[in-house]
């Protein structure tokens, strides 16, 4: 039971709104100590795990070029382009992105999206621009709401698209785990069973995006 102290620290730390980085590092060290390892061993294991996970930070490499383009007016241009499309609304822009993200992820192109390289510089400004050209000046609250929705669409699209691709990490993990248990399955069989969920995800979230448009229009009084 003792190693569960890490989970308790994480739950308590988030509940108390302590800095998450502090909470997570404390939980990691406490878990190692509770499992009966010495402090030097625990710090070394944690250091190794952190260094082995450096691939996770590589997405930040997009920042120099994104920053450069933002300074040159990329977000403003994205908003202008979208506001010239008459049928565009925030919900429809995000719906189109959801479809593209799911389909490209299903083809294995998961790197075609992402928050630093797509959502911040392009998708969020486009959704905000579409709402602005339709509803007039937006309140800050409305902007925040549209941005949170833009981030959510990126996540939902990639999560429920990628498993249709046979060489993605999760399929390989399932296969590896079952192999260890002497059960052999083909990646294609697993991928086929990701399709019903992918369709449900698209339908559910598409309806919510249409409702987002209605709610934005109701709150802001649509311009005719």
């Amino acid at each position: 039971m003792l190693p569960l102290i890490g989970i308790a620290i994480v739950v308590a730390g988030f509940a108390l709104r302590l800095n998450p980085l502090l909470v997570v590092v404390t939980a990691a060290l406490a878990t190692g100590l509770a499992a009966g390892h010495g402090i030097v061993d625990v710090i070394a294991s944690f250091g190794k795990a952190f260094t082995d996970s450096r691939t996770v930070g590589i997405v930040w490499l997009a920042l120099p070029v994104i920053g450069l383009l933002e300074r040159a007016g990329l977000k403003e241009r994205a908003a202008t382009v979208i506001s010239s499309i008459r049928v565009a609304t925030a919900g429809r822009v995000l719906l189109a992105y959801l479809a593209i993200r799911q389909i490209t992820a299903a083809l294995g192109l998961t790197s075609l999206g992402g928050h630093p390289q797509m959502v911040r510089p392009l998708i969020a400004p486009m959704a905000e621009g579409a709402a602005e050209s339709r509803l007039g000046e937006l309140t800050q609250e409305t902007r925040y709401r549209i941005r949170a929705n833009a981030a959510a669409v990126d996540n939902i699209g990639v999560f429920f698209g990628e498993d249709i691709f046979i060489a993605i990490g999760s399929i390989l993990l399932i296969r590896g785990f079952l192999d260890q248990n002497n059960i052999h399955v083909e990646p294609a069989e697993l991928a086929v069973w990701a399709v019903p969920t992918a369709i449900c995800a698209f339908v559910i979230h598409a309806i919510r995006l249409i409702m987002l448009d209605r709610s934005l229009a109701a709150m802001n009084g649509e311009k005719k």
């Binding site: 569960l4 800095n19 980085l21 710090i43 450096r54 930040w60 981030a151 069989e189």
Partner: protein, 318 residues
């Protein structure tokens, strides 16, 4: 051969640049803290592969100490005003999209082409890491295209990276730290303990109860671990294989595929999945740190119900 180490160097140089810009910024009262924080992170990328594990552990602890005791300074305001940016947008028009879209385009291109390149039988790019190396190469290509196209000064991307990275601040390091926490959980055997508790306390005597426990359990355990990959082996060994497949004769493919996707519903609902749910909050400058999670919860719950139904009707089909 180009390995991941090459990408780590680029990343280390960028973060080192951010540390130096911070150090020279006299308007930031916390400039030394920011410089130490990013300096340590840069060191992890530049020399982490050659340092002993213990030293790498101390780097992370050092970052947390600077953050907790000293606190970090925020991002500087944008140098260009909105009017300047709009004027610039009107000048460059759609050319601005080229470098931005070059990142995904070159990543995908690299993914396809790098695998096939070799020099005298030795692959040009480490075949196991093609995607990440392609992403690294793509960001460099996009930056060069951007600099040439906009005729921007060389210092400009470093200054802008500093503005963006300080806006994201410590949240930039959180996903990596959570991945390391997952490794510590695995080392300490957290998974099997949770599985034992579940099997002992939950009544699992009808097919529906077993399926629902498995799908909801995958989602809940994923919210704790922040990662469906960590939850899957535990829940599947505890419930999926012995009960759904073993006791009730369910189909292993349906169980595994839909089980993993139920875990993804959990990923949508937890701050522990920081790269998906916390990092965008910082990137989009949202005041509520749970804004993205709150937006995703209704979809996640409805989809979890849908997954439970899909598994129940699919897994026992003969």
């Amino acid at each position: 051969m180009i390995t991941l180490e090459f990408v780590y160097w680029i990343m280390g140089l960028m973060v080192a640049g951010v540390a130096i810009v911070n150090l020279r910024d006299r308007t930031n009262p916390k400039r030394y803290n920011n410089a130490i924080f990013w300096g340590l992170y840069a060191a992890s990328y530049l020399v982490g592969s050659r340092l002993p594990d213990f030293a790498n552990g101390l780097i992370v602890i050092g970052m947390v100490l600077v953050l907790t005791i000293g606190k970090l300074g925020g991002a500087p305001p944008e140098e260009a005003t909105r009017a300047e940016r709009e004027a610039s947008a009107a000048r460059w028009k759609n050319l601005l999209f080229i470098p931005a879209l070059a990142i995904p385009a070159v990543t995908v291109f690299g993914n396809i082409v790098f695998k096939k390149l070799n020099i005298g039988g030795v692959p040009l790019v480490d075949p196991k890491q093609v995607t990440l190396i392609s992403l690294g190469v793509a960001t460099v290509v996009a930056l060069i295209v951007g600099l040439v196209l906009l005729r921007a000064p060389l210092i400009s991307p470093v200054v802008e990276s500093r503005r963006l990275l300080d806006a994201v601040s410590w949240a930039a390091v959180l996903p990596q730290t959570l991945a390391a926490l997952g490794a510590m959980f695995a080392l300490a055997g957290v998974g099997p303990i949770v599985a034992q508790i579940l099997q002992r306390w939950i009544p699992l005597d009808t097919p529906f109860a077993v399926v629902a426990t498995y799908t909801v359990g995958m989602a809940l355990f994923t919210t704790i671990m922040g990662n469906a990959f960590a939850a899957f082996p535990v829940m599947t060994a505890a419930i999926g294989l012995p009960l759904i497949v073993g006791k009730f004769g369910g189909n292993v493919v349906v169980m595994a595929a839909v089980g993993m996707l139920s875990g993804f519903c959990g990923t949508l609902m937890t701050p522990m999945a920081a790269n998906f749910n916390i990092v965008p909050v910082a990137l989009l400058e949202l005041p509520d740190s749970n804004a993205v999670i709150k937006t995703q919860i209704p979809t996640a719950i409805l989809l979890l119900i849908a997954n439970t139904a899909i598994m129940y009707f699919g897994v026992f089909r003969k």
